[in-house]
């Protein structure tokens, strides 16, 4: 199948301040809420455009997006491509973005009403910041896994506040300066499943851009509810990790040496913030997920070596 593009309310040669990049794949359950939260922004509509990349969905994601978008007055482009991976999808947004900034929204996310306004204000004031991201809303989980995930996000958000120096803040919900992103040559298209954020943040820090967390902007995220889905997510991160370790040999491995220490620190922070006893399960959860990561990593490694042979 060849690529299809859908444009809504297109304005030729218009300059926007913000491009909202929404890269989705099989997200029909949450896409409705995500797009509505974008439409409800209090940011001026003439200054923002929406670019949706549907990366080879097989469910009703694309029709849902189109029917929602056709009723709005925001300038929108919807790309429907066959699956090429998250790196290529994000590059597609970058190539077509007319804005000065790109806000990345993922499928399972919702953003608060003032999210874009606050992030843009922050970026306009701090010219040396390349990436900024808000904070994740806490406790929208019902099962123990989603509670642990959200506790973990909470702890991490508080541990790596303001100027984030040696931690990956992730792409979903982050605002990127297009100028900075173009300087490093966009995303790596080989990172098809995960890890494209880590790669970009690495390169940006090298070029001297700062990465910040903005505490006042809040977004919501759908955490995995079952252990199996969390497990699969981490296997996916392992896939990306394999490529990254080859790319930056060794530097990243350092992060996985002190998994248990990480878990304990996060648990302490989460307990201090919420007084929930579940927080002490975090170290175990952490090490469990890193096993999944390792399995994902080894899978690629073994597949590579066998094909090589």
């Amino acid at each position: 199948m060849s690529d299809k593009v859908y444009f809504f309310n297109r304005k030729e040669d218009a300059a926007f301040l913000v491009t909202i990049g929404l890269c989705v794949r099989n997200e029909q359950a949450m896409i409705d809420k995500t797009i509505r939260s974008i439409f409800d922004q209090d940011f001026p509509r003439e200054l923002m455009e929406l670019i949706v990349v549907d990366d080879g969905s097989e469910d009703a994601t694309l029709p849902t997006v189109l029917s929602l978008v056709s009723n709005s007055d925001i300038c929108t482009a919807v790309f429907s491509t066959k699956w090429r991976g998250i790196g290529s999808a994000r590059n597609k947004v970058l190539d077509n973005a007319k804005g000065k900034y790109i806000v990345w929204i993922d499928g399972g996310m919702t953003i608060s009403k003032d999210y874009i306004r606050k992030l843009v204000k922050f970026m306009e004031r701090n010219k040396n910041v390349g990436i900024a991201k808000g904070k994740c809303k806490t406790f929208d989980g019902k099962t123990i896994v989603s509670i642990l995930e959200s506790l973990q996000f909470l702890a991490v958000d508080f541990r790596y506040d303001k100027n984030v120096k040696n931690f990956v803040i992730g792409t979903g919900g982050a605002i990127y300066r297009v100028e900075a992103l173009k300087e490093i040559g966009g995303f790596d298209k080989n990172l098809a499943k995960s890890g494209e954020d880590l790669d970009v943040e690495y390169k940006m820090r090298d070029k001297g851009w700062l990465i910040y967390r903005v505490s006042s902007a809040v977004f919501g995220k759908k955490h995995p509810e079952k252990l199996t889905s969390a497990w699969h997510d981490n296997i996916k991160y392992g896939y990306g990790g394999h490529y990254l370790i080859n790319k930056y040999s060794g530097e990243i491995l350092a992060r996985f040496k002190n998994v248990l220490v990480h878990g304990l620190l996060n648990a302490k922070m989460a307990y201090q913030l919420t007084y929930r006893k579940e927080a002490f399960l975090l170290p175990f959860y952490y090490s469990f997920m890193k096993i999944a990561w390792l399995i994902g990593y080894l899978k690629v490694r073994l597949a590579k070596s066998s094909s090589f042979r």
């Binding site: 199948m1 060849s2 690529d3 299809k4 593009v5 859908y6 444009f7 809504f8 309310n9 297109r10 030729e12 694309l62 029709p63 189109l66 029917s67 056709s70 429907s80």
Partner: protein, 320 residues
Amino acid sequence: MIIMKLKVSIGICARNCESFIKETINSIAAQDYPHNLMELIFVDDGSEDKTLEIVQNCLSQIDISSKVFHTPWKGLGHARNIVVTHAKGKYILWIDGDMIISKNYVSRLIDFMEKNPRIGIAKGKQALKIGSSLLATLEAYSRAAGRMLDYLSPKARYKSLGTGGAIYRKEIFEKIGKFDENLKGYGEDSDIEIRAKNAGFLLTTVNVNFSDFERHGLTWKNLWEKYWLRGYYGYYFFHKHKSLLKHYRMIPPAAFLAGIYASFKLYRLTGLKAVFLIPFLNIFKTTAWYIGFLTRELKKVSVSKQSRIRDIHLCKKLFI
């Protein structure tokens, strides 16, 4: 390695045509021309029905790369300009949302255009097919008869080919500019054809068939509305090209005589006796056209009258 360059951009400008669009897109997907040399640009000019949904569904099944634009209603001229802006092919083929083209349509037209570099605009011929009702058949026949002439002869100077089904050389738009966006419903084709002719391009028809929306059947009401709208939007066109103003062609008695001429031609071709009703059909159509035209003319008068009254009020306020 030979890099295949995109040859033709197919532009579909449609509005509220949920019942026809599927057939149209399928007839494009069935073309025998290589699909990787075609691109499809669909402009949905403010549809309020399910057109967009159906288009999305159809496009997901075909392997022609496509772009779809959805805008609030701004008129046909604007919609066609979107296609011109985004077309990357050497040619632009215009298809209407209710047309069906025969399987070799694209390949024949492109073949013809490649061989005749002086031709700027070419179009296929309307198929002489019996429609689902007598009225539909007659309408299709009379439209076909209207285009049965040699467009290269000087006699056909003011005859319009129409945009639906026509292939345009992209360089036309580089030379003479784009469509006139004030021509919202009708007349954008005649306007650009006149400008193309003045720039030295030739127009002609090619012997390959398409069929228009009449195949779906037609009611008297549809026909009336269609020609009323043509008259209504034709108003701007007639005022733009004052030298080409040919009111007498649209006067019902003149149309009757033209109808008689056309019906003899059609009878010789098809042997259908019903074609002798075409003169009467022409009277009906041109009446609708004139009423539409006059409605627009009167509206302008009433607007100017209103403004005059407002001026008088203003004067009164100022001076008394």
